[in-house]
């Protein structure tokens, strides 16, 4: 059925205004309808396509976009981590082990040599530590002789999933609770970095979403007022947007974040940071929404809805919003990574979230000095999380943007 142009959601049309294709003949010429029937039947196979709404057409387009599918996988992966952080991480993020500060990453081995037989026995090797007599620094070496068996769903200390459901098993961990297992290494206090990165995903991935949600609400309201009603309201909102956009973003964020007093409740800090991020975030969205309203207002099909007698509300909700909702979603998706980076940067500088909250930015704070990076490079690993999450959102957003208008020609 791809053999027919009418099917093609990308709309291969000629340059002319009307591209007649197969179709019906002239009215009131009985033999014509009959005559044209075969050509309609040629088109019969694509009935299905003809009846697809915009979301399905967009999906078809989206699926063709390879990078976007990569983006979907990445983003889905991180949100999966964020949602099931308690279960997926081998420890609790605040469990520390004073015997293993800065313990290096271990490798996970699946098979154990038993005589000359290989057995499936997942395990990691333990550490031996030596203390440098001069600097009193403890250095660790992997010790092949200590075998720490690892298993799926081990019994461990009690914890509450989502702060609600009491559970005692995590996805994987050492068979013996408390045995040292640091697959991505440990930090200054001997806390498992893998655990903390997984928990960090929860904060870092949601702060972007919440920030964007705030921006979205303000943006749609302001942009809608500006675009649909125009006039004085439009003038004021546009000037405000121009003013806000002319303020350099980073210093403004830093200034506002620095104004949050020390010792504020971490949850409140989280909330305030999202508000700070959306102070500027909404302006871009408002512009997009306003632009769409403006161009749609004069579209013939919107005028046709007015001729039909639709109320303003019905015109907006039924005829205008669906036409740009997809664009908004794409724009929003592309705004999330900015927020993630913003949170990371602020927290990294100590202006954003603060311990004990765990976010990627907070984790990266531990890797601020060259010395630490040189000696314990694994502390940079949360940066990889940021990198892949941002990449994923950008791929996804690009794909959405390309698919957003399945009716565009070319």
């Amino acid at each position: 059925m791809t053999a027919d142009g009418r099917n093609d959601p990308t709309g291969h049309q000629s340059s002319g205004p009307a591209t007649p294709e197969t179709g019906v003949g002239e009215l009131s010429d009985p033999d014509v309808l009959g005559h044209a029937a075969p050509s309609v039947d040629i088109a019969g196979g694509e009935d299905e396509m003809a009846m697809l709404g915009q979301w399905k057409l967009m999906w078809i387009r989206f699926k063709r976009h390879r990078l976007a599918m990569v983006g979907v996988v990445l983003v889905a992966f991180f949100y999966f981590l964020a949602i099931f952080a308690e279960f997926l991480s081998p420890q609790s993020p605040h469990d520390y082990n004073r015997h293993y500060p800065y313990a290096p990453p271990q490798r996970l081995h699946l098979f154990l040599r038993d005589g000359d037989q290989l057995r499936f026995r997942p395990h990691v090797y333990g550490y031996t530590s030596t203390v440098d007599p001069a600097s009193f620094r403890r250095t660790f070496a992997i010790d092949d002789d200590q075998i720490i068996p690892v298993r799926l769903l081990p019994q461990g200390p009690e914890y509450r999933m989502w702060n609600l459901i009491p559970m005692s098993r995590r996805l994987f961990g050492p068979v013996e609770p408390g045995a040292p297992m640091f697959l991505l290494g440990a930090d200054r206090l001997g806390r498992d970095l893998l655990t903390r990165i997984v928990y960090g995903a929860r904060v870092s991935m949601t702060i972007g979403l919440v920030g964007v949600a705030f921006s979205l609400i303000i943006g749609i309201i302001m942009g809608g007022i500006s675009g649909y009603f125009g006039g004085v309201a439009d003038n004021i909102i546009q000037r405000t947007i121009e003013f806000l956009q002319s303020i350099p973003q980073i210093p403004l964020w830093m200034g506002l974040a620095a104004a949050i007093p020390q010792g504020t409740d971490p949850l409140l800090v989280y909330f305030l940071i999202t508000v700070i991020l959306s102070v500027l975030g909404w302006t871009g969205l408002a512009r997009v929404v306003r632009g769409r309203f403006y161009s749609l207002k004069t579209e013939d099909f919107v005028i046709a809805a007015r001729v039909d007698g639709c109320s303003s509300l019905r015109i907006i909700m039924r005829h205008m919003v669906p036409s740009f909702l997809s664009h908004i979603i794409a724009t929003v998706t592309l705004a999330v990574p900015t927020m993630i980076i913003a949170e990371t940067s602020l927290s990294f500088l100590g202006l954003g979230l603060r311990p004990p909250v765990v976010s990627w930015g907070v984790l990266l704070q531990a890797a601020q000095s060259v010395q630490v990076i040189a000696n314990f490079p694994w502390l940079l690993l949360p940066g990889l999380g940021v990198f892949f999450a941002v990449l994923g959102f950008n791929f996804l957003g690009d794909g959405l943007r390309d698919a957003a208008d399945p009716y565009a020609t070319g």
Partner: protein
Amino acid sequence: MPDNNLLTVDELKTYFFTDEGVVKAVDGLTLEVPRGRTLGVVGESGSGKSVGARSLMQLVDPPGRIVEGSIMLNRADGSTVDISSLDPRGPAIRAIRGDEIAMIFQEPMSSLSPVHTVGDQIGEMIELHWGYTKAQARDRVLELLQQVEMPKARGVIDSYTFELSGGMRQRAMIAMGLACDPSLLIADEPTTALDVTTQAVILDLIRRLQESFGMSVLFITHALGVIAELADHVAVMYLGSVVEQGSVMDVFHRPQHPYTRSLLRSIPSLGLEKKRRLEAIRGMVPHPFNRPGGCPFHNRCPEFMPGVCDQLVPPLEHLDAGRTVRCLLHSDVDEVRARQEEQAAAEREAAAGEAAAQRSVGKRGGESR
């Protein structure tokens, strides 16, 4: 009489190889552009007029490509060149474009640069092709603008195209087309976006310029009226091929192809007896993916012959000098059938032979077509 023709296009095929399939935008275009005359090309939307015209200058963008046919240009020095065999990006075709063959478009804004003045844009062409200095080129531009009767030419030469009205832009576009004294000017719907009043003025201008420059004009339009006003010869296009060609009087007064006849009957015309019902052509132009077999017009043709028109591809028939038609009403059906069956058989044989050859080489056979 090939020497009378500036350009002879023979069985030109330009296909677009898209993801969805092959679009045969131009499929067997045969045209003769007489020297110093105006050939009007008329057809409905999607009939391949623009793609055909762009093919003549090797301007088809990928995934489009000329797959077959020849475009013989008889040059001023007596030599002949086949444009279809030139490399679309090579120097040979670039020397022809703008210099020997120039093109003007329906929407002048899309082909004029908004960041250069009218004078600079036209002047650049002249500097490039004729090696003029800036000052010489400017004089020539001014002369050209006066030739296209541009109001306030001295002011326009330094203005930008967005400052001009629709009619003035089209004049600027024509001046650019004429800049290097081309032997062929291709005009793709240059008046479609204009008001009737402006259209009339521009058509007059093109006619006058054609006479004074002595060039050939290939004028593309979907409006039969415009053709009747302007052209000396007419080619009627339908689904990628020319179905009828001849002098304007012949085609309008003695149309031979059912499509031409229907078209002429379906347009309202000033001063005709009132309230006559228009004789519309039934159905619609099929999408090129759905190109009907046999005669491409057969599912809309009022003179459709069952068992003939849907099976045989009408060959080009020469009725008179310069008068051709592609309709089985004008062909010896039995002979055409015999010929096409023979051809089909030969093709089948060739395919089978190919398959056999492949088999003998050891590859899996039977996959050819």
